[in-house]
């Protein structure tokens, strides 16, 4: 029995050490990436104290839609697109908070849409934050929405195992040589393809009540004395009761039906490259040329 327990104890201790070492290695790589592959690692690896004219936050409906390089050409203003696919209100809040830790912007733009009522974290979009869960500010926010946050923080390597397909070995290896696709355009990436002509119309609905994460963003911007704007990016052939957003959010602008050309859409929710170009012009005309 002694020999067995000795074997088990040695295995478990070595297992724990292995997890601990792997955790340190992975976290170090995410903290100091050779190629920042996610928006979060990219933001964290930017030179600190940047003074920008504006910063854009949101989901894929900003990531694929607004090109800061084009805005710079059209208006001369410096900005950054800090949105990323699947991000819901909670992840957008994390991003805004992270941005203000080291940077400043005169104007903050947050895209809101049919996901307005989502209060939970997004299982996909939370992943880029997980390597940094040991930082108190990030942990406290995640803990409030994810009951497993405590295990992710304190059990070594557990968080990387849980997100193996997003944060695992493959991502670590790729972070050494494969750059992201948005760095050259300050956070923008175009979407390809075009929506099928026969696609059916969509009807989406949002409930008229406040969202706690967006309210936090409003408070942060007040505290930072920064102008905050909310907007809704274009949809194709979709019904959405955006009057709720207009009622609940300050400085709200509705671009929901601003583009109707089918050739500009990749699907109901996303503009393609042509649409993104058109929308970026419309956006900068609306906010920066008056």
């Amino acid at each position: 029995m002694k020999a067995f327990f000795k074997n088990i104890v040695i295995t478990l201790v070595t297992f724990y050490i292995l997890l601990f070492v792997l955790d340190v290695i992975y976290t170090t790589i995410y903290n100091h990436p050779i190629k920042a592959r996610s928006k979060v690692t990219w933001l964290r690896s930017l030179e600190p104290n940047q003074e920008l004219d504006y910063a854009l936050f949101g989901s894929s409906r900003v990531f694929f839609h607004l090109n800061p390089v084009q805005i710079k050409k059209e208006t001369g203003l410096n900005g950054i697109n800090l949105s990323y696919p699947a991000a819901d209100n909670f992840e957008i809040k994390l991003m805004v908070k992270e941005f203000f830790k080291k940077h400043r912007a005169k104007k903050i733009f947050v895209q809101v849409d049919d996901r307005y009522n989502v209060e939970n974290f997004n299982k996909l979009a939370i992943n880029p934050w997980i390597p940094f869960i040991k930082e108190d500010s990030i942990y406290n926010d995640i803990k409030a929405v994810d009951s497993a946050a405590v295990y992710k923080r304190y059990l070594p390597f557990y968080r990387y195992m849980l997100s193996d397909s997003r944060l695992g070995f493959r991502e670590i290896v790729l972070s050494f040589f494969k750059p992201n696709m948005f760095e050259a355009t300050n956070g923008f990436a175009p979407m390809v393809g075009q929506i099928n002509e026969n696609s059916k119309p969509m009807a989406l609905h949002i409930i008229d009540k406040k969202n706690q994460h967006l309210e936090t963003i409003i408070d942060i911007c007040k505290k930072e004395k920064v102008e905050l704007f909310f907007f809704t990016a274009p949809y194709f052939n979709t019904q959405l009761n955006t009057e709720v957003l207009k009622k609940q959010l300050p400085n709200y602008h509705d671009f929901y039906s601003s583009i109707s050309d089918i050739n500009c859409f990749s699907d109901h929710l996303h503009l393609n490259e042509k649409g993104a170009k058109q929308f970026t012009t419309l956006f900068s005309d609306t906010y920066f040329k008056n």
């Binding site: 020999a3 067995f4 074997n7 292995l18 397909s165 070995f169 493959r170």
Partner: protein, 478 residues
């Protein structure tokens, strides 16, 4: 309770400690505790099915004792049939009722007669095919007077419900497992350490190989009309390793867990993909089921004796029944029939026992001929797996048809680059490790530096394991 779950990681140490430290002085209490732990393990899925397993155990226990007392052959036969009807009745009802109903209504409507039959929403009790066969083997062995019936119901209930192998085998024979419940078990460190290592190896096959392959297999099989021949071939290739990693991984965990409690179960897989022909494959794949069918179906039918016609019939019967055992779907029947077709030429030329030893025995590398034989056999197996994996025969047929269009779209493969860079090397690691340990029960046994090698496997599990996509063991559905 899944072997690769947190529930089991908590359950196992608790049961281990109570088993060896609380009940180690009293064999009866130790066996009773095994029954209790097994029922907790099984009831974790659905406690209602505990009544089924308890009833099945009671019937076979009583029939076994009655058989021992009964000398009149006719009455003995009646007793045997009671056990067969009860056990296969449950299996038939839960597993095949809807299938037969659908098949009959379809057949009648084909001849112009519409039958109104209502299918039932039946949940298949986990592991019913496994424990039914295990308990049936007991009754048949007692009937044949090859085994003395037990008068100890607790031991018998423990034999039927022994949790490590309850839900997906290996299907143990009473002659091997039951006597182990009669004798006092002393803790054997060497056996327990070996069991622990076998569990690690099983987890590697399940979490690293099977679950990673499953992501690609599922995507490709579910959307097979979107993909070209090369991708569809890869899909079948992934599935071959998914099912192997899944099922043999389960068996390793089951056998390893049994060793922790002082039990020796029979080996269920013996590097089957290194087989040089189909006959060898079936001696190395799911050994406990193959031998069950051999002893209780094939040999009673006459086996390979008798006329050629009888031999062919027997081969088809055993493979089709074996296929049907896997599930109530014509795909399994076709899969079984295909294997019978593969097997027949070997049987008819008396070549079905050409390869009873391990490939390249006492050599490091195989000969060119052996490599060719292994690749050919593996190719045939992959072909048959397509039927096993597909939803229905029509889809399997279309899947294969698309493979043989020989269209290759390399751009499409980019979607699966993770397979090329990550999964293929892992499969390579599996194949290499298994090749160099093909004469052992499992690779972590009798290896030169066992502790180091175990850590290496643990590291592979931690780094490459699929933890975000945990899949249930495929054989649970059977």
């Amino acid at each position: 309770m899944l072997f690769n779950s947190l529930d089991f990681a908590i359950f196992l140490p608790i049961v281990f400690v109570i088993y060896w430290f609380v009940f180690n002085k009293n064999l009866r209490l130790q066996n009773l505790f095994i029954v209790f732990a097994s029922y907790v393990f099984y009831g974790w899925w659905d406690w209602r099915f505990l009544f089924l397993i308890l009833f099945s155990s009671l019937v076979d226990y009583v029939v076994g004792i009655a058989l021992a007392k009964q000398e009149v052959q006719v009455k003995r036969k009646v007793l045997l049939w009671i056990s067969i009807v009860v056990n296969l009745g449950f299996l038939g009802f839960f597993k095949y009722y809807n299938f037969f109903l659908d098949s009959f209504t379809t057949a009648f409507s084909f001849f112009g007669t519409d039958i109104q039959a209502r299918s039932l929403s039946i949940i298949l009790p986990v592991g019913i095919s496994f424990y039914t066969f295990q308990t049936l083997s007991y009754t048949i062995d007692v009937y044949k007077r090859q085994l003395k019936p037990t008068k100890d119901f607790i031991s018998f209930a423990a034999f039927v419900s022994f949790f490590p192998q309850l839900v997906a085998g290996p299907i143990e024979r009473a002659s091997n497992l039951l006597p182990q419940f009669y004798n006092k078990r002393n803790f054997n460190s060497k056996l327990a350490i070996d069991g622990f290592r076998q569990i690690i190896w099983g987890l590697f096959k399940k979490i690293v190989i099977a679950d990673n392959c499953a992501q690609f297999t599922n995507d490709i099989f579910n959307n097979y009309t979107d993909y070209s021949s090369s991708t569809l071939f890869l899909g079948a290739f992934y599935f071959a390793f998914q099912i192997y990693g899944d099922f043999s991984g389960y068996s390793d965990i089951a056998i390893g867990t049994s060793k922790l409690f002082g039990f020796n179960l029979k080996q269920n897989f013996a590097t089957p993909y290194f087989s040089r022909d189909i006959a060898e494959f079936w001696r190395r794949w799911h050994i406990s089921l193959s031998t069950w069918f051999r002893d209780y179906v094939y040999i009673p039918l006459g086996g390979s004796r008798g006329s050629k016609g009888n031999q062919i019939r027997n081969v088809f019967v055993i493979f089709i029944v074996s296929g049907f055992w896997h599930g109530a779907n014509w795909t399994f029947v076709v899969w079984g029939a295909l294997n019978a077709i593969y097997f027949l030429p070997l049987l008819l030329r008396n070549k079905n026992r050409s390869h009873t030893n391990v490939v390249a025995e006492n050599r490091k590398l195989p000969s060119v001929k052996e490599v060719f034989q292994m690749i050919t056999t593996f190719g045939l197996i992959i072909f048959a797996w397509v039927f096993f994996r597909s939803e229905n025969v029509e889809k399997a047929w279309l899947y294969l048809k698309r493979i043989f269009e020989f269209s290759i779209h390399w751009n499409e493969q980019l979607k699966f680059k993770r397979f090329v860079f990550e999964i293929i090397p892992l499969i390579g690691v599996l194949v290499l490790i298994e090749w160099f340990s093909r004469q052992e029960e499992h690779p972590l046994k009798n290896v030169k530096y066992p502790t180091f090698f175990t850590f290496f496997i643990i590291m592979l599990i931690v780094v490459f394991g699929s933890f975000s996509n945990i899949h249930e063991f495929i054989y649970f559905q059977f």
